[in-house]
Structure formats: C-alpha cells, structure tokens
Symmetry: C2
Subunit: 130 residues, 2 copies
C-alpha cells in the first residue's frame, strides 16, 4: 500500500508550523493554527498529514500519560517532560551514555529484542514550581 506523496500546501504548512514552535501541540491546536491562515482546512486533513509526517519520520508523535497525543517538529531522538500542574510539554536532553546503559540494562535478562524506548519525565516546570 505504498503511496507516492505529492506536494501539498497543507502538509508543508503543518510541518512549518511545528518547526516554528517550541511547544508540542495537539492535533487540535495545529488545526486551529492552520485555520487562522486558511479557514478552509479540515480537521481530517490535519490528522492525515500529521500521521503521514510522523510515519515518514519527519515529525514525532508523543503519546502522553494522560492519553492525549502531542506532536513535535523535531524528529531527532530526544526526551520530554510534562508538567503535572500546567500540562506543558518541554524538551529535555539526556546524556547519550545513560541511554546506552539503559538499553543494555533492559536487554540483560530479556528474551526478545529491544529496539528502543520512550521516556516521559514528569514533575513541575520552572514556572509552576513557585
């Protein structure tokens, strides 16, 4: 079921929007942002393109602990933090050595193949800790 993907103004706009923000918006937020510039976009289009971009590895899809999905314009492996007060999602970089140790430790007495992991940190962000 391989489909060739043609140019699409909406898909471009979605990726641009994600690249231009440090936030990690939900599909709905992206939808409203796009709608501000082009009122005729459809929510279905936003979902289709977000998922397509994520499948192609051009953006990241984050499944948060509360079940909601957020999107991240930075496809490079990195980690995330969610504030339990305000719900904001922030980037968080980790020492690569730690991560290697982590996969090694997980593989230690596990009988399958560990290909990767997702880590979500939680707590209070700098604003909410006051």
């Amino acid at each position: 079921m391989e489909t060739v993907s043609r140019y699409s103004r909406n898909r471009e706009a979605i990726q641009e929007y994600l690249l231009g923000t440090k936030e990690h918006p939900t599909a709905d937020v992206v939808y409203h942002a796009l709608k501000a510039k082009n009122p005729s976009v459809s929510l279905g289009t936003v979902y289709r393109n977000l998922n397509q971009l994520a499948e192609q590895g051009r953006i990241l899809k984050l499944s948060m602990d509360d079940g909601s999905e957020h999107f991240d314009g930075n496809p490079l492996p990195h980690h995330h933090f969610t504030c339990r007060m305000c719900g904001r999602v922030l980037d968080l970089d980790l020492d690569p050595d730690i991560l290697k140790d982590l996969n090694d430790a997980a593989s230690a007495d596990f009988n399958g193949v560990i290909e990767g992991h997702s880590i979500y940190f939680y707590g209070l962000c700098s604003l909410c800790k006051k």
Copy 2:
C-alpha cells in the same frame, strides 16, 4: 471531594483478576473477563473501579505509545515492554542504579522539579523475533 470507599464485590473481582494474570489487559478485556462470571457488570463500573484502584495506587495504569490504556495488577514501580508485532505488554525489571542515574541526568540542566518518569521499551518479544 474525598469519598470513603466501601466494599464492592466488583472492585474486588477486578483487582483479583489483575493480580491473577501476568498480562496487562485493557479496560475492555477486564470487562469481558468479569462479564463471564457475572453477566450483569457494566462497562462503566469497570472503568470507574480501574481508575479508582489506580488513583489509590493499588494498580497501575499504563498509557501505551499507540494511545491505548492497559492496567497492571502490580503497583510496585517497574517497567514495560511492548512487542511491535503482537502488541503484548510484558514486565521488564531494571537495575535501580540506572534509574537513579537517569533522573539525575534529566535534572542536570532542567529548571523545574523532576518527580519521576515512565519508560516504555519496544521491539520484538521472544515469540515474535523468530
């Protein structure tokens, strides 16, 4: 909004079911298992009690990467692995030292308070890797 929780046959049955399985079922799976013994249970009751048990820390609620929620009768901190072929969720124990390093590394240049983390490993389980 504190409510005292009384005894409930259904809640007991739900917890017993979770304790008696090594699987990590979804609410729906729990619902069908309970229904087999008592056809009059309602899906709403299952959700209410699963959430209540999770809030009380008597079970764990797992938000998987695909957005689905699974429940785990073992409330002690441990980690999970999801097979990308069959979708099964398995337990996975990690060296506590690694985890301490992980939180320390995350706290290093972060301005808020890191209270904890969830880690989800993925790959192929022992059955699917063949």
